[in-house]
Amino acid sequence: MMDRELSADARALYERCRRIVRTVRMLVPERRRDDWTNEWIGELWYRVALLDRSHPIDRYKANRLILRTLGAFPHALWTLTDEWRLDPMLQDLKYALRGILKRPLFAALVIATLSLGIGANSAMFSIVNSVLIKPLPYDRPDELVYMYGSFSQNDRASVSPPDFLDYRSRNSVFSSLAARTIFGSAVLSGDEEPERVRASIASSNFFATLGVEPYRGRVFSAEEENGGSDVAIISYGLWQRRYAGDANIIGKSIAVDGRPHTVIGIMPPVLDRTMDVQVWRPIPFNTPETSVRRFHFLRLVGRLKLGVTIPQAQRHMDDIAGTLAASYAENESWHLALVPYREAVIGSVGPVLFILLGAVGLVLLIACGNVASLLLARASARSGEMAVRTALGAGRGRLVRQLLTESVVLGLVSGVVGIVLAHYLLAGVRAVGDGLLPRLAEVEMDGVALAFTIVVSLATSLVFGAVPALHAVRPDLAATMKSLGKTSATRAGAYTRDALVVAQVALSFVLLIGAGLLVRSLWELQHVETGFDPSRLLTAEVSLPATRYRTRQEVDRFWTQLLDRVRTIPGVESAAATTLLPLRGGGDTYFYIEGQPPASDAEKMNATISTVTDGYFATMRIPVVAGRVFERTDRGDGAGVTVINQGLARRLFANASPIGKRLVVDFGKPFVAEIVGVVADVRIYGQASNAPDLMYFFNDQPAAGFGTGTMNLALRVRGDPSRFVSPLRDVLRTLEPDVPLSSPQAMADILSESVSGERFRTQLLAGFAAVALLLAVVGLYGMLAYAVTQRSREMGIRIALGARPAAVFRLVIRQGMVLVMIGVLLGVGGALATTRFLTSQLFAVAPTDPTVFAGVALALTLAGLAACVVPARRATRADPILALRQE
């Protein structure tokens, strides 16, 4: 009846089912695999052949057969789990799981402790890996070299366009040498709200040098370096955001700084993650500004030719710099400083990250110690069970293996929880870390970080699991059997637990010292005298389009009008503008005292310059030390005037009065200025750096200072500065509807942000230290509480024999505090040996600061004492009757 071949339809049905079976069969243990497969194949063939008797095949029944075939999957799984029953390791696993589930609270405590440690480590490792270890996302990134212009030994200045062109054409070590500006912005206007974006001008070969291909369109051509071509390349992010991913944007015209530019390309997303630039334009190399060798504003990127090293390239570029200096006087002493591109991107964040990674490593060690104590305590509670199992013939190896399996299960579960935790921690870091961490957008958990987490989890479980496992199977079987049912701690176990407590205290001491030093350093930093009053001060930047404001007179008329109107806003006490707002960039120039021109370049003096409007010093509340500040009578046609800061006055004239002395300042042309006043020092570059030598010029004197097309407004207001942002914007709009008000911010916030990096790492380390302290205290408490339970009989007897509760109380406290003290002493040693790694991160605090050491020692001792009190009080309540009855 069945002795015929299947029809084509039936064949196809059979093949489909067979494919399912053949896929699933890999799950079946090898021993059973053939039988398993043959049974399915036999049934399937039989059923298909039955269906094949009617034509066409019943679709419904065919589908049911396929559905039924899917049951092969649970069947295969069942054979797999059935096989596991026989595997000793899986028996251990089952036993371990059962053991864990039987004490869910204990397991939760262990997993919480460990996953905290593992999660923090995993997150920190991801950061270190993404920022420091992973290669930059460019083509062969190791060949890329970053170049600063350099005047003296270690300064990191820029390079002028003519110098760049010479370096590019004359060198033979780079296969490609490119340049771009690193600070810059542009205003996009047109259909949308005007918006200030980060912009950069770059040489035509810049993207090719990095090995970045445009996402759409093309990059700049060599001809576009010759100027006159208004083309722009936009970032992927800007394209998506402002132009809503317009597919036809290439070839369209957009208004950049008030001039139409043709969009020729879109950069790929990878560039958004590595460079904060939204609009790229080509460097026009033939304009007056780009033909001056003294105007340094480019940074260079080169791709080394195969086999060329950085020192070789440095020597080669130094030779070219020498030739240039021989031809051009202004090039004297100028050269290039070459560093690996990576180093330029990462900056100085490396040590900080490694310190933090070390700190979370310590936290994990403490967590391990804590869990080891817990397991040890549990192991002695289970010593009876172990002894019985040994007596029944279980080998020691088997018992150790089983206990380790428990640890590994706990470790791996904690690892999984830790990964989840790390995921959220990283999201948090990405949210708050903007500007604090280079390559922040690249920070993620990748395969390497996952592998790291798993290895750490396994290593962790071996560390915390080994001690209790070896303890649990110690050989004095008879003794244990005898004492079954009674509770008495063995000395060996107690010593190990003591040592764990000491280690935890010592490690957390080291962490607390690190955190304490950073906290102290941050406090010092935040209480540095800045030289002006940041309270109730609103600042914002306004930048005028050079296309419509051509002369200095036009520009200055605008500032006067704007400030006059701003001062009428109700609640504004005073207002002024400056080219150099504290903590917001700056520029400097050369000068000499009239009649004392420098004999050589080495004697050239320079100072930071700031061009300010009327009322600047009053608005900022910068104290006038001598003389006067600018007045409306200091006109452009009058004699040049300047106000200098105290530091510069001291440097130039020592104790003599500088008032009335004259300086010759290089603003392209020499500008002679009489010093009319001296004001207090201002820490322009942030609290951590010293106040620079500073010369102030008056914006009403057009020959003084550089362009005032971009100024920072400062408004002293009554009340909350943020309430004045929108009135200020309204006033600006009445004058110039197309000019945006950029980065309006309260000065106090700018100050606070300027130490945000320090605050961030301090908070992180303090957080780690807090966790460490908590773990150590819990560990100490747990150990003592356990010891008191173990010794309750002894305590009872003591009380029965007449010991007063106070004496018992002291006894327990002493037991705990001896450990704390040993831990603190070891911690002092450890801290002295390690805090020097923090030196570079500290401001005005020595790494061995005695206040911090004393404070931490005291805090830790008190915390330890608190942990001892509860168990000690419990010990005094030991019942003498109960204790005696047990004897």
């Binding site: 049974e39 036999g42 049934e43 049951g71 999957f73 069947h75 059935d82």
Partner: protein, 104 residues
């Protein structure tokens, strides 16, 4: 002895009524393949059924691969009877089944 689970009871019942092949047992019990095969595996492990392969000669004559079939063992029959009794008692206790009065 623990009574058989209800699905095991159904499968073992089918086998005892000479429904011998896996897919036929599914048809007889209405249980899905993902349940029937593991149950058969467990029953075989516990010694309540034994499985055999039909003879190659038969299969070859019909030009198809051989099928595996299941038979109930003596222990299986006992377990079946005990479990049926167990569930009947349970049903009575819950007032779901009434035992016919025994003759006499």
């Amino acid at each position: 002895m623990k009574p058989l689970s209800l699905s095991a009871l159904a499968v073992l019942g089918a086998v005892s009524r000479s429904v011998r092949y896996g897919f036929d047992i599914m048809d007889a019990t209405g249980l899905p393949s993902g349940t029937v095969y593991p149950v058969l595996g467990r029953l075989e492990r516990d010694g309540y059924v034994r499985s055999k392969w039909e003879s190659h000669a038969v299969a070859q004559r019909e030009k198809r691969p051989p099928r595996r079939y299941y038979e109930i063992t003596a222990a299986g029959s006992r377990a079946l009877a005990t479990s049926v009794e167990h569930y009947r008692t349970l049903g009575e206790r819950l007032g779901l089944v009434t035992r016919k009065p025994s003759a006499g």
